[in-house]
């Protein structure tokens, strides 16, 4: 029952006849029919709309939609299917899937699948999205995505197939796969390259390390050799100085003042003032070419070969003296660059007759008492250059009050090319004034030379300077052979000899108790040991222990070690540090660097360790080693352009690593 029709009579009561009731029933049936008809019309309209909507959806679907019945016959085919497969709607209807879209090689599988579904209601590809190979009207096969859904309509079954051409997508996927493969290949290739580069770098680093070790060894070796050479030079200097006359001879009517200053390196200056048996006086100033041991040896050889008298004891003429010694030296020593200049004078102090010869030497200057100046220039070549050389000589008479000055070229170093007038002007201060002031005037002259050399960049190369002035007046002789330098050289030589014999290598010994740490340094302390020394020292101070630093056997401290020592002392606020018995050389270093705090800690107490000492074994700090390596390479690079190019990358790498590590 869907409703009622209600008849209402107004007024008197009314009896409804059966006819009226049947008529009312008939009217109700008509109304029911009308309502049912209207509802059906409405439903049909909705159905039509639904069907239209479905058709529109199918018509405009982006997928090909194919409807087939259970016999595989195509019953619907949308426009997209026409585009994808090439068959028109009209052509497709009535065809089978085998005829239209399924490649022949899949026909059998498809038949079996259909058969299985019809028998069991199951199909492995139904209601799933799968990828297949389809074909179009022209036989072209292409990748397609397929979804098949069975639709049961009454007793029959249809299948709706949604097909999408995924050729582009598959191609894109293949391209992506290919790109991925290429990328992986490139990554692998790049990885291999990087691995090879890393291995190469490691190999180079190993080589560099080995090279660095070798270089450090060589550097140490060079330093050792340099030290040895320096020691030899200093000893040579000592020997050479010993060749100089220590005491002036007794002279009659004349006196001689001498100032001798060795250069930074041992040189070849030599002089002598001697009286002969006949009472005459011989003076000479010699200058061996170059510097170093060779020059010193040549000076020694010259002195040994020099003959001032003949076999009868008569004084030989200066020209003969030079000829003879030249002949001997040329015979004994024949090497390029090995020669010697000499200013040689023989003076008869009774008559004043003076004979002077010069073998390539700087001009001698005779200053007359009346103010006249006479330059006595060379009378022959330097000794050792030409074996058959002949010499002439100057012959003059020295009058009372005259002054004669001989000097080596170290005095006029830097004045080359000056005129005679300028030379006389330069030497004039030494040749004037009171006779008694002779030594001081010579020193004044030397100071000018020394100051001039300090103003030059080549300070280290200042030559020996020898000044010899003879005055024809009675007076005391004074030979200033630089006793201070002599003492310094001797001291240095002695300390080095001691170091070589007693402490050939560096070592740090430690003896520690609860109250004291005793550190004994043996040999030269350098940057290599400063780190371990600093750590042990600070550990002692931190532990409130008394720290004794025994330098009795320490031969030398470099700046890094000195700085470390100073730092350690500076942190010692409780005066727990005592430095024992530093050598004079080390003490001098403290003074030179102004390490006053360190100096205050020095005491002469017993140096016995509080217990049995142990040798400290340690590895040099890496960074310090790097810095040392850098310095070593820089030094080697400075030696030659070839070395500079060879080690340029090494120096740059080490500098960069130090910068990065800082």
């Amino acid at each position: 029952m869907i409703g009622i029709i209600c008849l209402e009579h107004v007024g008197l009561p009314r009896v409804w006849t059966s006819e009226e009731q049947r008529f009312a029933g008939s009217l109700a049936d008509v109304a029911s029919l009308a309502i049912a008809s209207w509802e059906r019309i409405q439903a049909q309209g909705a159905l039509r709309q639904s069907e239209e909507l479905t058709r529109e959806i199918i018509a405009h679907a982006l997928d090909a939609i194919v409807i087939v019945n259970e016999g595989g016959i195509i019953t619907d085919w949308n426009p997209r299917a026409e585009t994808v497969f090439g068959w028109t709607h009209a052509e497709a209807l009535g065809m089978t899937l085998y005829d239209s879209v399924i490649p022949p090689r899949y026909h059998e599988d498809h038949r079996k699948g259909m058969q299985r579904f019809l028998e069991t209601g199951e199909g492995p590809i139904l209601n799933k999205r799968i990828e297949i190979t389809a074909r179009d009207k022209g036989g072209r096969e292409f990748a397609a995505e397929l979804t098949i859904s069975p639709v049961r309509i009454g007793d029959s079954i249809a299948f709706s197939a949604f097909v999408r051409d995924i050729t582009d997508r598959v191609r894109a996927e293949l391209e992506v796969q290919q790109l991925n493969a290429e990328l992986e290949e490139r990554v692998e290739e790049r990885t291999s390259q990087l691995r090879a580069a890393v291995e190469e770098k490691e190999r180079l680093l190993d080589e560099l390390q080995a090279s660095s070790v070798e270089l450090v060894d060589r550097l140490f070796e060079l330093e050792h050799k340099s030290e040895t050479i320096q020691n030899d030079l200093e000893r040579a200097q000592v020997i050479q100085t010993a060749l100089l006359p220590a005491e002036p001879p007794l002279l009659d009517g004349v006196h001689v003042n001498v100032l001798y200053r060795p250069g930074m390196n041992v040189g070849g200056d030599l002089y002598d003032v001697r009286t002969l048996d006949d009472g005459s006086l011989v003076i000479y100033v010699a200058d061996a070419a170059g510097h170093g041991v060779a020059a010193a040896m040549l000076s020694v050889l010259f002195k040994q070969r020099l003959r001032t008298c003949d076999e009868g004891g008569q004084a030989l003429a200066p020209l003969e003296v030079l000829r003879l010694v030249n002949e001997k030296l040329s015979t004994d020593v024949s090497a390029r660059g090995l020669f010697l200049t000499v200013g040689y004078v023989h003076l008869d102090t009774k008559t004043g007759e003076m004979r002077a010869a010069s073998a390539g030497h700087t001009p001698m200057l005779l200053r007359r008492a009346n103010g006249e100046s006479i330059l006595l220039k060379r009378t022959g070549p330097a000794l050792g250059l030409v074996k058959e050389a002949e010499y002439t000589e100057h012959q003059l008479t020295v009058e009372p009050g005259d002054r004669l000055i001989l000097y080596t070229d170290g005095l006029i170093d830097g004045l080359e090319g000056t005129s005679n007038g300028e030379l006389l002007e330069f030497l004039a201060p030494a040749l004037t004034g009171d006779s008694s002031e002779g030594p001081e005037r010579l020193r004044d002259l030397f100071r000018k030379v020394d100051q001039r050399s300090k103003g030059n960049a080549n300070e280290a190369g200042r030559d020996d300077v020898t000044l010899l002035m003879l005055e024809a007046t009675v007076g005391p002789c004074h030979f200033d052979n630089c006793p201070a330098a002599d003492a310094q050289s001797s001291s240095r030589a002695e300390s080095e000899v001691a170091a070589e014999t007693d402490t050939p290598a560096w070592a740090l010994w430690i003896a520690e108790t609860g109250a004291e740490t005793h550190l004994a340094i043996r040999g030269p302390g350098s940057w290599i040991h400063s780190e371990i020394f600093s750590r042990l020292g600070h550990a002692a101070l931190d532990g409130q222990r008394r720290l004794t630093i025994d330098l009795e056997n320490c031969t030398y401290l470099d700046s890094a070690f000195l700085g470390t020592l100073h730092e350690l002392v500076a942190t010692d606020t409780k005066a727990n540090i005592s430095i024992l018995r530093p050598s004079s050389a080390v003490l001098e270093l403290f003074g030179e660097l102004g390490l006053t705090d360190v100096l205050k800690t020095i005491c002469d107490g017993p140096s016995e360790p509080p217990c049995e000492p142990a040798l400290v074994v340690h590895e040099p700090p890496a960074r310090a080693s790097q810095m040392r390596l850098l310095r070593a390479h820089e030094i080697l690079s400075e030696l030659s352009e070839e070395n500079r190019q060879r080690f340029a990358s090494v120096v740059e790498t080490l500098r960069a690593e130090l910068r990065n590590g800082s």
């Binding site: 029952m1 008849l7 009731q21 009217l27 008809s37």
Partner: protein, 135 residues
Amino acid sequence: MSEENSPFGQREDVLGRLAKSGSWVRGSLESILQEVTEAAAHTMAIDRVNVWLFEKSPPRMRCIEHYDRISREHSPGGVELAASDYPIYFKALDDQRTIVAHDAQGGSTDPRIRGGLSRRARHHFNARRTTPLWR
């Protein structure tokens, strides 16, 4: 001839005319129901004829066509009667094909009428006949 005295043949004619009405073709439910209510009112001389449809949620009845023979006016009604308000009446509709009340005012003893219509509603008519619509 008055409508009250219409012979049987007239009712058959009315039914025949309704069956041939053009409203069927036009598919207008409103027109057919109006023809039905007019035919009922005038053929049987009934003052008011209403068509009600049941609706399930919630159970109720809604008037979709009302015809007043005196004023000859149709209205869509729109009145609703909830089943919860008239349980006996709705029960009677379920059980019987037709409910006939010959004296609705005096027949207040009939529980179907008494439970189905309020006194205010009942005083407007004195005889009532309810005929179900079937599908």
